[in-house]
């Protein structure tokens, strides 16, 4: 029985988890770095333990310290949130060894899905559609070129252990292949110390559609509909919504079934996300599976009415899923905007500093997940997301209106934010028409530069 949870994270997600626990009567232990003594999660939790200096490698990534803090505080479970140790096989394995409940999937599952080539093979064998590409790891450009010829250009070269756009390059044709391959491989070698690459057909102008799934220890797997996360800048999501404006009920059913099949193939447990690329034709391909709660989970919560964090804790505690596939009905429309401490005028350079004054909107259908407060100093060491502004209305048009209105009310003084940038996107006719794909922001920026 889970009675006390240690939250191995910071910022808004730590706050989100503390709140869910508190509502369930579960005690919470926050861990914090020396830079986060004044952070909201540190103050909000029932107990807080300092786990090291500011750099995350010495604090939020310090497994030994976090395990010790768990034992010392008497917590029986760890919620890893997202980022940091959330998809770290070794950390999950350590928790298992120490009888600590890791709120997430089994370490072996994390390991299998974390390796992209292996994940793809698992999915292909289970009959989940995947992008045509190399099945085996590729280490040199000449072998890669043969494979690329079979797949058909354009192709994308990717690192097996990649992420966040690192170690990825597109080759439009054979002439550009060597350059693309070598650059991507060099990058991944530097970033991850591994030069395993794979190559696949490059899907042009797709939407990034992901399906939330929930699975319990008893083999029940349910999907909770999709999120359209196509509004991205340099592979960083900016706006997410559910449901997707262009997915029909029929397509949703097919994609949902594929997502469930994928989760079952991976013997998945707890909350997870299956990422697909959706082409205009309606073809969709499995991209990867994220083995954690996602930043954008609130949009799913709002259209399904299910509290995903609480459900995660129940599952980790050994409960059966509290709903079936039939129970899941998507109602209304939810949109999330990420508010970051960055300056869009200066190439989105991060902007840590002290928030001198702030006002955040509210009202019906407005939700704010954040960890900032007036007088809070945003430290320079971590991710620069300040808040998530989520709105809900009965349809997409009204939700967009509500988001426009809410963004117009956001006041954060003392540091630069991307609020105005988001406000502009919400007024973009293409966005409003649902006519956007993962190139949307890049194209928009290119156009603005010219104009």
């Amino acid at each position: 029985m889970i009675k006390k949870v240690l939250i191995a994270n910071r910022g808004e997600i730590a706050v989100r988890i503390i709140r869910a626990c508190r509502e369930m009567g579960i005690e919470t232990v926050a861990v914090y770095s020396e830079a986060d003594k004044e952070a909201l999660h540190t103050q909000l939790a029932d107990e807080a333990i300092c786990i090291g200096p500011a750099p995350s490698s010495e604090s939020y990534l310090n497994m030994e310290q976090i395990i010790s803090a768990t034992i010392v505080s008497g917590a029986d479970a760890i919620h890893p949130g997202f980022g940091f140790l959330s998809e770290n096989t070794k950390f999950a394995e350590l928790c298992e060894k120490c009888n600590i409940i890791f709120i997430g999937p089994d370490s072996k599952v994390i390991s299998r899905l974390g390796n992209k080539s292996e994940a793809r093979n698992t999915m292909a064998n289970a009959g989940v559609p995947i992008i045509p590409g190399s099945r085996e790891a590729i280490y040199d450009a000449s072998k890669g070129k043969e494979v690329a010829r079979e797949i058909g250009y354009p192709v994308i070269v990717k690192a097996a252990l990649g992420g966040g756009g690192k170690g990825m390059r597109v080759a439009e044709n054979e002439a550009g292949f060597d350059m693309a391959f070598n650059t991507a491989q060099k990058e991944t070698k530097a970033a991850f110390g591994d030069d395993t690459m794979y190559i696949e057909h490059f899907v042009q102008h797709p939407k990034h559609i992901e399906f939330q799934i929930m699975a319990d220890k008893y083999g029940n797997v349910v999907h909770l509909g999709e999120r359209d996360c196509s509004v991205q800048r340099n592979h960083q999501k900016m706006i997410e919504e559910s449901p997707c404006a262009v997915i029909s009920d029929e397509l949703r059913r097919r994609m949902g079934e594929a997502a469930v099949k994928a989760a079952k193939a991976a013997h998945y447990e707890n909350a997870g996300t299956i990422e697909f690329l959706l082409e205009k034709s309606g073809n969709f391909y499995f991209m990867e599976m994220n083995t954690r709660i996602q930043v954008e989970h609130p949009v799913t919560e709002w259209v399904t009415g299910i509290d995903l964090i609480k459900e995660q804790i129940r599952i980790a505690d050994g409960q059966q899923l509290s709903f079936t596939q039939e129970d899941v009905k998507l109602t209304g429309h939810a949109i999330e905007c990420r508010i970051n401490a960055e300056n869009p005028e200066k190439n989105f350079r991060p902007c840590p500093g002290t928030i001198t004054d702030m006002y955040l909107p509210g009202g019906k259908g407005v939700r704010i997940d954040s960890a900032i407060y007036s007088g809070y100093t945003v430290p320079p060491y971590y991710d620069n997301m300040l808040a998530k502004l989520i709105v809900f209305a009965k349809n997409r048009t009204e939700a967009i209106r509500k988001m426009q209105s809410a963004l117009g009310e956001v006041i954060i003084e003392g540091i630069d934010t991307n609020v105005d940038y988001q406000y502009d996107i919400l007024h973009d006719p293409k966005y409003q028409a649902g006519d956007f794909d993962i190139e949307f922001i890049a194209e928009r920026e290119a156009k603005n530069r010219q104009g």
């Binding site: 029985m1 009567g25 005690e27 919470t28 004044e38 030994e64 395990i67 120490c98």
Partner: protein, 565 residues
């Protein structure tokens, strides 16, 4: 706004029971042995990370002490270790109370029968004798058994003509065995002297801590002495010294880095590199026949005739001119630098070590000017101290022992002129080199690549052949000095350069040097190979010619070379 203690905490009364009478899962606990604490940074660390990471703290990089058997696993080829002389016991020569019980208890605890493990193993396919001290056993102090096992291992190595590698780690002599323990110092040293005289290799690896009678015997006698980073190495322990002199010791005192700086350690080797370093050393000391490429003597290009001697002097000092370290890098492979004179310090104005020339092991020594002002300050602008000459001589004697030719690169304004240099015997150090080099039993080649200033140059050029680059100079002293002594006016250096006959072609005509290597007009790193490519050929020719001579012919010829001057 300050948030401290402003929020309400979780109410346990609101607890929504999750489980419905399900068995409570086991309480969280860290299983025995999963985590350990670093004794230096005090961080909790995963035992497995430590084991996989060469027993180095993943957080603070501190080196943990390694048990003998694990050390052997880390260094030797898997499954090749064959242990010798198990089960030797010393008894209790002083009838020291409780000694036998203590030894027995340690035998039980460690599974060892004494503080050193000896035997034979392969490292990267090369057979070696190993002796590894284990600090768990009375701090690996040297009693009769330790002394005996090491001595036997050395004797067997000598008998089988094998290299021996000893991993030292010790608190010193074993007090409980009294004077018997002291005698082990002489016994092991005597065995190593025979090993040395038989021309066999001994590599000493100093690990934390190496102190007392072990430092003062076998540990410091290696042909090559390696040390692990941060290892405490000394004769008297730091606490004893502090008590005796009543002063606090500086940070880093008696650490491996301190010893290297003071000339007692050839190289500090990080643990992950130790196995390959040892393998390379052993491989370079293997006797073998080496075939150098066939090279034909070419017509030497005409030199740039229209330069004045003073212009050549200036070119010899030009900043863009490649320096000693760059010749080593360009002409040789697998260079392994050895530091120190084993007396006082490591002089950075001289770089030396072993390397391969077309596969053949050679000893390379270079007077080292720096590339930048910062490096020049560190290297004292290429002006060696007595310690530098003593290091060079030490490496030459080592080359003689292992029958390796010696190749020197000369580039110095002169031997360092300073208080400390005189205190430590600059004159004696130079003289000693001339004395010993004149009869060294292996070929010596010296190439003057820049300035060949006076006795400071000659101390690395009492050789079989001396070559000059076209715009190098070689002289009794600098033109400035010459003008100052003879004409009491150092500003007449330009004039002096003309009088001194210090240019390459003048020296060749005078029979002082054997060869002049032409330089391109713009001599720098970009045009470097225009000099090193022909030099490579000439070195092949030199090594073949002198390598074919008997030792008597070689030294006789060298004697004559100077005798007729």
């Amino acid at each position: 706004m300050k948030l401290s203690n402003m929020f309400k905490k979780t109410s346990r009364r609101g607890y929504i029971s999750l489980g419905e009478g399900k068995p409570v899962h086991m309480a969280p606990e860290v299983p025995e042995g999963l985590l350990k604490k670093c004794n230096v940074c005090k961080s909790a660390i995963l035992t497995e990370d430590v084991k996989k990471g060469y027993y180095i703290c993943p957080k603070c990089q501190n080196y943990f002490r390694v048990h003998a058997m694990r050390r052997i696993e880390m260094v030797a080829d898997a499954g090749t270790f064959e242990e010798w002389d198990k089960g030797l016991t010393s008894g209790n020569p002083l009838h020291y109370k409780g000694y036998e019980e203590k030894v027995e208890a340690l035998q039980e605890k460690t599974g060892l029968d004494e503080a050193v493990v000896t035997g034979k193993a392969m490292i990267a396919g090369n057979e070696v004798v190993l002796a590894v001290c284990d600090g768990r056993f009375m701090m690996a102090s040297m009693g009769k058994v330790v002394g005996e096992k090491i001595t036997r291992a050395v004797e067997k190595a000598t008998g089988e003509k094998l290299p021996i590698i000893i991993f030292a780690c010790s608190g010193g002599a074993r007090m409980q065995e009294g004077i018997h323990s002291l005698m082990q110092m002489a016994k092991t040293s005597a065995a190593l002297k025979r090993h040395h005289d038989a021309g066999c290799l001994y590599v000493s690896v100093l690990t934390d801590p190496t102190t007392g009678g072990v430092t003062a015997s076998f540990a410091m006698l290696g042909d090559i002495i390696l040390a692990e980073p941060g290892a405490l190495i000394g004769f008297a322990g730091p606490r004893v010294i502090e008590q005796t002199i009543g002063q606090k010791l500086p940070k880093g005192f008696q650490r491996a880095e301190f010893l290297q700086e003071h000339g007692f350690v050839d190289q500090i080797v990080e643990r992950p590199r130790l196995r390959e370093t040892l393998a390379e050393i052993v491989a370079m000391h293997k006797q073998g026949a080496y075939d150098l490429p066939e090279v034909e003597e070419k017509e030497t290009q005409a030199v740039q005739k229209n330069l004045t001697p003073w212009e050549r002097v200036q070119l010899s000092r030009d900043k863009a001119r490649p320096v000693g370290a760059e010749y080593i890098e360009e002409l040789f492979t697998d260079f392994m630098e050895f530091h120190g004179d084993r007396y006082y310090q490591d002089d950075k104005a001289i770089i030396g070590g072993i390397a391969r020339f077309h596969g053949m092991p050679v000893t390379v020594i270079a007077q080292a000017k720096g590339r930048t002002t910062k490096e020049n300050i560190e290297r004292n602008f290429g002006m060696p101290s007595p310690d530098g000459y003593r290091k060079a001589l030490r490496l030459m004697k080592q080359a003689e022992k292992f029958n390796r030719p010696v190749i020197c690169f000369v580039d110095t304004p002169g031997a360092f002129c300073g208080l400390e240099a005189e205190e430590r015997g600059q004159g004696e150090a130079i003289a000693r080199n001339l004395f010993e080099m004149s009869n060294l039993q292996v070929p010596i080649l010296s190439v003057v690549i820049g300035e060949g200033g006076s006795g400071g140059a000659l101390a690395m050029a009492t050789s079989d052949e001396v070559w000059l680059l076209e715009n190098s100079i070689y002289s009794i002293l600098s033109p400035e000095g010459f003008a100052s002594i003879l004409w009491k006016d150092s500003s007449r250096a330009k004039e002096a350069a003309g009088v001194m006959k210090l240019t390459a072609d003048q020296l060749l005509k005078a029979g002082i040097v054997e060869r002049v290597i032409p330089e391109p007009e713009d001599f720098n790193l970009e045009t470097f190979t225009e000099v090193t490519d022909p030099m490579d050929d000439y070195i092949c020719i030199f090594l073949k010619k002198y390598g074919a001579m008997t030792k008597e012919e070689l030294t006789e010829k060298r004697y004559d070379r100077f005798r007729r001057m």
